[in-house]
Symmetry: C2
Subunit: 506 residues, 2 copies
């Protein structure tokens, strides 16, 4: 609680989303205020303030006794020049912490509680520990549907919101989203060019892989730039009616981006958080109509039809109250979609479908046409049941490929060849028979071990799908890796359980 002034220094350490302040152990502020490492402090300079975690430094080359070091993220967030004066004091707990404690005790929270919590999270006022507590508490005492509505609304209010009235008037702004969990399920990269070619506005933003071997943003990054400044993104949508960009730069739901950084390591994906996360981003992106893909299968996120129906109803309840037209489609999630798993291999599949290549995976093509058809039926001039045929015509005629190329050029084309990583290992069928089960989770894990998505060419190429016949010793799939160690780990995993069940013919 002292007001001694220190000089701001930018410390070249990237701590990602965590603000860190570095103070020398002999700094008068540390000694007077009794600061300890990992204390939460408030840094004030030039009328601005941020919260940060304190690291105590013993090396004057990193920070001197009269300096206040800031990590890259903290320095940018504070936005005050190096050398400027600053003060440091113990941070007051965030305003909403009482509401957090009530949730931890199992109480139902109000609209105002969620607003206050999400505002504090978006402003980076929550520590990792507090974020984890919020995620676990809202996971355990399952949120009722009005709480999910409040959470979604709060997430929208905490971010930027796009408006496309100038472009479409009262017409629909469309999007398509999948709840995830199925490797190779890259239908967005087909649906967006098809519906944009139909003339609909589709400002699609995607995520990077969280626990999967590739997110749409990872796969699209093989073909084009995906980290686009906000203004550029808007311009591209105006020009091409569509885009396939990473959503993080758009700041559409900053609180959600922060929560995901905690949900991921805990592998928590509760229905309430899923609905709030997806719908807040779509509404913030200005979408008015959404087709939602809910895959069901024994190794999908949703394992049974009753569970899928419950989730669908929750999505519908919240969407309706927020003025979003929702068409939720329950799909077959019993196996990966397409042949490739991993950014390069998936991009290859997508381009083959767009190019009407006879080698293209038909399941990916059919699923994309089905979903694109549902989106096209949001067009008031299209009759119910006609969407699929319109989508197929757009794809077959090459207009979808043309539109995809326009989007790629607008975002910035990447010239790298679509080559899978060179080291390979084939997983073979132990006996002859038919493929009766494929474990999505196992396939995803092997592909990640092989290096996907960080190594773009790493992943899996599937040779057999459900119902296919195999001979003993015939390859089921091929693992691709760039590094020996990665291949070894992936192979070890696949040798324990390759994720395929082959049943002998009667």
């Amino acid at each position: 609680m002292t007001t001694l002034e220190l000089q701001i220094k930018r410390v070249g350490i990237d701590t990602y989303r965590e603000n860190v302040a570095y103070l020398h152990r002999n700094c008068a502020v540390v000694r007077a205020a009794g600061f300890q490492a990992l204390a939460k402090v408030e840094v004030q300079a030039n009328g601005r303030a941020i919260l940060a975690v304190l690291n105590v430094v013993d090396d004057a080359r990193i920070v001197g006794e009269r300096e206040l070091g800031l990590s890259e993220e903290a320095f940018e967030r504070l936005g005050v020049a190096a050398g400027h004066g600053a003060t440091v004091q113990h941070a007051e707990p965030p305003e909403s912490i009482a509401a957090l404690h009530r949730k931890i005790s199992g109480e139902r929270l109000s609209r105002e509680d969620f607003r206050s919590i999400i505002r504090d999270i978006a402003r980076a006022r929550y520590s990792k520990i507090e974020l984890a507590a919020f995620v676990v508490a809202t996971n355990q005492f399952e949120l009722d549907r009005d709480e999910v509505l409040h959470l979604t609304q709060a997430m929208i209010d905490a971010g930027r919101r796009l408006d496309w009235h100038q472009e479409v008037g009262a017409g629909p702004v469309v999007d398509k989203h999948c709840i995830g969990g199925i490797p190779g399920n890259r239908t967005s990269m087909l649906v967006v060019p098809i519906v944009a070619a139909h003339g609909m506005l589709c400002p699609k933003t995607s995520s990077r892989a969280i626990t999967s071997p590739a997110g749409t943003a990872d796969t699209m990054a093989v073909l084009a730039e995906v980290e686009l400044p906000f203004e550029r993104l808007v311009q591209i949508v105006r020009e091409t009616r569509g885009c396939l960009a990473w959503g993080g730069t758009a700041e559409l739901s900053p609180a959600d981006d922060i929560l995901i950084s905690v949900e991921r390591p805990l592998a928590i994906d509760s229905p309430g958080q899923m609905v709030a996360s997806i719908l807040s981003k779509k509404i913030a992106a200005g979408s008015t109509h959404l087709v939602l893909d809910i895959p069901v299968g024994p190794s999908a996120k949703v394992r049974s039809m009753p569970e899928a129906q419950r989730l669908k109803k929750l999505f519908e309840y919240v969407a309706a109250r927020l003025g979003l037209q929702l068409d939720a489609v329950i799909t077959d999630g019993r196996q990966p979609v397409g042949f490739g798993v991993g950014p390069v291999l998936e991009a290859r599949d997508v381009m083959q479908v767009l190019e009407n290549d006879p080698q293209a995976p038909d399941d990916l093509r059919q699923k994309a046409l089905q979903l694109a058809g549902r989106v096209i039926e949001f067009d008031p001039d299209v009759r119910g049941g006609e969407g699929y045929a319109i989508a197929r015509d757009i794809l077959d005629s090459g207009r979808a490929l043309e539109r995809m190329n326009a989007i790629i050029d607008a975002q910035g084309r990447r010239r790298e060849p679509l080559e899978a990583a060179p080291l390979t290992y084939d997983v073979i069928a132990p006996t002859a028979g038919a493929v009766v089960a494929i474990d999505n989770l196992r396939i995803a894990r092997v592909a990640r071990m092989a290096g996907a998505p960080q190594v773009r060419g790493a992943g899996i190429d599937l040779f057999k799908k459900l119902g296919d016949n195999v001979a003993a010793g015939e390859p089921l799939y091929r693992v691709h890796a760039r590094f020996e160690a990665d291949l070894r780990f992936a192979r070890q995993l696949a040798e324990v359980d390759g994720g395929y069940q082959v049943a002998p013919h009667e």
Copy 2:
């Protein structure tokens, strides 16, 4: 997943209990393995391994492209010299993470589950996020009593355990503990010298303040050294039959020390965690008999008698199964104990009681004698009901003071004068009447704002207690601070609500 070798460098940054590894952004390992900031990595060197959080560095003066920087804590934990080669790879999740996920989903965990979780926590394999998830999950789905037993046993097994058979044979090794929450409640500093003077072995270790204005270790630190190497601590207990040291250096329950660092900022103190934390430390310290103080009052941790009874039964259940003799005493927790709140002011109270000073606070003296009496009755040669009188004789005769001085000298006497901080502010009675309520939490908060426990002389000196008569304008208590800003903050808080209720006489 690459095995490129890097050179270990010690980076002079203290990150407290969090291991941090610093790698340069252009380091081949970062680029090849696609590491991102805050990723969890495993560092291996010379046959040893630690887990660490990754910070990416852009300044070659902190770490070069072929170096692996380690924070102070990480460097010490790894225990390999600077300049030695090391490799880095993505960390596998801790073994017990599946059990953690089951607890998050609300399942009951087995003895083996708790053993595996606590082992991983003690080895620093859990991230902050995972720790917070464990604490919130065990708080929400309240642990049943066998789970508390398993948790306690696992905490004992993960640490060091003392054995005093050589010293006492089959005789009792005693301790006294309070569940906390009452400012000024420094009875341990009286009970230990009294029972040690009676000849009982009392290896008392204490904690520092967590959310209070002083822990016993903070108050004792005014008089003597409390951070003692493990071997020295054992030696002191042999010499003086008692000690009043900080427990952290003894590594008696390392998992508990780590969990507390997360429970504290979340203000979570569930019955199960409290029982496991307290009993694991006592049993690890070799205690065979424990007197437990459970204060009850409207602003105490336990607010009602039924709640106190439930907590008492849970303590008794677990203690009995672990072979610890427990005597749980429910005490009056309606107001602070003694006059002083804060390390120096509490140390003054304690010394006045030991010196039989007529100014000494009688409530502190009476409570200490009562608890010491209960401990003394663990002595098989003492008849039930005689303990109090024996304790009083030891105190009145000066033998308790003599023993306290022996303990202080053995631990290392501090020569600082017992002076309260010089800046003061008096909180006065707004009207004449009698004091009818004192809010423990409010008094603690004002004392902390004034600088306690970091500023040892800061805190509060109480002039009036429950039932005392006051005139309008008469001081209720005095706030002591060393810094103007601290005094201002404490005063602002006290002006909103000073924590006293004065009711006019009829």
